[in-house]
């Protein structure tokens, strides 16, 4: 198969790359662009570790082809902080110890960012169902839910 030339926007930057037609966007981000924040936990859309935002929609980048990013906007965990200022979710994940091993953290942060963009004042149940596509095996989710609740209240106040 011949390579596909793609021009896209990633975390606000214009990016161009060449990828195989059957190559996933996750592989492009990690292997071609060095953006290893998104993780591959399953490759089948069942764990959410590769979550990114594509044109304002939360998706698993393992279920998107690299070629599909043409002309679209991609947001990854690497784009969440502004310079040295962390996003409130990042800050609250640190303060609440909402991570142990941390492999699921980038996916949770992106999914929580999308959740709060759609619903700035979610109930515990809405947070739990909103983040059900992201697996965490270390924390039992307790501290993750609390961190998102706390971040939501900080962001409302901002």
């Amino acid at each position: 198969m011949a390579g596909v030339a793609v021009s896209t926007t990633i975390n606000g930057d214009n990016v161009e790359y060449l990828c195989q037609p059957d190559e996933t966007l996750l592989d492009v981000l990690r292997d071609r662009l060095g953006l290893t924040g998104a993780k591959e936990g399953c490759g089948t859309g069942d764990c959410g570790a590769c979550s990114i935002i594509l044109d304002d929609r939360l998706v698993c980048s393992c279920l998107v082809l690299g070629a599909e990013a043409q002309g679209r906007r991609v947001e990854t965990v690497e784009g969440m902080a502004h310079g040295d200022k962390l996003h409130p979710l990042q800050q609250k994940f640190l303060e609440h110890a909402a991570l142990q091993c941390g492999i699921c953290t980038p996916g949770f942060l992106i999914a929580a960012k999308d959740l709060l963009a759609r619903n700035p004042d979610p109930s515990e149940e809405e947070i739990r169902f909103g983040l059900a596509g992201n697996l965490c095996r270390c924390t039992g989710y307790d501290k993750i839910v609390r961190a998102v609740q706390d971040a939501a209240s900080v962001m409302k106040g901002a």
Binding site: T24, T44, G45, R57, V59, C62, V64
Partner: protein, 278 residues
Amino acid sequence: MEEAVGLLTGSAGTAAILAGGSDLLVRMKGGFTEPDLIVDIKSIDGIGEIRQTAEGFSIGAAVPCAMLGENEALKRAWPGVVEAARLIGSKQVQGRCTIVGNLCNASPAADSVPALVAAGARASIVGPAGRRTIAVEAVPTAPGKTSLAKGEIIDAILLDERPARSADAYLRFIPRTEMDIAVVSAGVSLTLDTAGTITAARVALGAVAPTVLLVEEAARILVGSKADEATLQKLEEACSAASRPIDDKRGTVAFRKQVAGVMARRAATIAYTRAGDR
């Protein structure tokens, strides 16, 4: 659209249609399919839109399921179809998956299909021989197989305008609260008269046969009733009896038969309440 049909018709090897990709990419990852040609249909005009037509609704083949939940008119008219579509996978998958993909994947456990069958939805098909429209239940023929001919693409799902006092509901059984494939499922669509008597009903069951089952006996039981306890009991028994499931990693025959009835009863109750409220 003509270009896509031409590409698919002309391809010599395996060709795949890419809309949301949430099934296709999983199959590619697992090595179950290695397409020589992937046709991304998302850039076709209008295929990513939900349109309100004179007859009702037209849901484009590339509309991600999350969009169904964002369309207030559709939610009001077909709450069961929307809740079924919104149960497919996670939020992440919702941003990609489509009801046409769910239908063409032809899994007996597909979430949106029983709801679409209960709703009497139709599939609008474009192919080398032109356009045709068929009932959604005629699309899947067996697990993983459809009645579509080479080069044919479903470009939209069509849903009717709803008469007054009509509503639908969809329920599935999964072991977790999210992220699972239905072990059994039921879609029910009802229309009531002003006295609250059911005048029309469609009941469809998922994951209890090679394709989604439209249980006509269940509909007959409901019509003429007010969804009273005795009727619901008969409905439950009829749905359990109609089920022809298999034992597999997700459930047993006995479990599926029994819970199919429970899901149908509960979905009918919800649909009845919804219909009475409008």
